[in-house]
């Protein structure tokens, strides 16, 4: 098994790739993809710290919180993509920077 830092650096890189996608893309689906990548990085961190705990089996909180996070991420994706479809139906666009009706 490699050291803890190996996994932590991978998960940090994954998080920053997701952050970059969320901040730089204009298409709503790309922003959702970025959010998914960030959530996957956070889940990977939970599992890594659970695995390197001295007594991982006594109370596998890392496993359980990852399962809950995956369920919540799935709900978030479903609502997000439904929003994308609803917005597309109204405005015929999925570019988030052209949704500026509320701008003063």
């Amino acid at each position: 098994m490699p050291v803890v830092s190996f996994f932590l650096i991978i998960s940090a890189t994954l998080f920053c790739i997701g952050l970059m996608a969320t901040l730089t893309r204009r298409h709503a689906i790309f922003i959702l993809i970025g959010i998914e990548l960030m959530l996957a990085a956070a889940n990977l961190n939970f599992i890594v710290f659970w695995r390197y705990d001295s007594q991982p089996h006594d109370h596998p909180a890392g496993i359980l919180i990852t399962l809950f996070a995956i369920a919540i991420a799935a709900a978030e994706t479903a609502v997000g993509l439904a929003l994308v479809i609803a917005v597309y139906r109204h405005y015929r666009t999925t570019q988030v920077n052209s949704l500026d009706q509320l701008k003063g």
């Binding site: 490699p2 050291v3 830092s5 190996f6 932590l8 650096i9 991978i10 940090a12 994954l14 998080f15 920053c16 790739i17 997701g18 952050l19 970059m20 996608a21 901040l23 730089t24 893309r25 204009r26 790309f30 959702l32 993809i33 998914e36 990548l37 996957a40 889940n43 990977l44 599992i47 695995r51 390197y52 007594q55 991982p56 089996h57 596998p60 890392g62 496993i63 359980l64 990852t66 399962l67 809950f68 995956i70 369920a71 919540i72 991420a73 799935a74 709900a75 994706t77 479903a78 609502v79 993509l81 439904a82 929003l83 994308v84 479809i85 609803a86 597309y88 015929r92 999925t94 570019q95």
Partner: protein, 158 residues
């Protein structure tokens, strides 16, 4: 170890492709590959059940949802109007900060505990005893989210 490095490279490269490719469908398929890589990491870290859940939910359900949404909104491709360098800069600053924190923290002396596989029935027992209220809350949340998603995409009466 070599295998882990290969999986890491595949995961990060496909994540980068998903974040930067212009074609939405290619980006979605790269995202699936990236999720598979993360699931492989779960298997390596002895969290087999979470790895399987990851494959089922992300590679199965979420990928299908994203692909269907892409197909339903197809005609609207992203306009190229220059890379917003502010976002890239923020991502790199956060990356630098995280790497600095990881390298500076003395955690590598932690030994890897020897681990027998965590049986799935143990996870089920814990979910049904200590974590029963969070489990119920997630159930309510999923129901509410799915009903909400259905209401959002429902055809409006003219």
């Amino acid at each position: 170890m070599t295998l882990l490095v290969i999986i890491a490279i595949v995961t990060l490269a496909s994540a980068l492709a998903a974040a930067t490719l212009g074609n939405l469908m290619h980006a979605a398929l790269n995202l699936v590959l990236s999720f598979l890589g993360v699931a492989a990491f779960y298997f390596f870290l002895d969290a087999e059940f979470v790895g399987l859940v990851q494959v089922l939910i992300y590679v199965g359900a979420v990928a299908v949802l994203i692909v269907f949404t892409i197909l339903l909104t197809r005609r609207d491709e992203e306009k190229k109007n220059g890379l917003p360098w502010g976002g890239v800069l923020v991502a790199f600053v956060v990356f630098g900060g995280l790497i600095w924190a990881i390298v500076k923290t003395p955690i590598n002396s932690i030994p890897t505990p020897h681990l027998a596989t965590l049986p799935v029935h143990r996870i089920g027992q814990i979910l049904m005893t200590d974590y029963v209220w969070p489990l119920q809350a997630v159930g309510v949340l999923l129901t509410a989210a799915l009903v909400g998603a259905l209401i959002l995409v429902m055809e409006e009466k003219p």
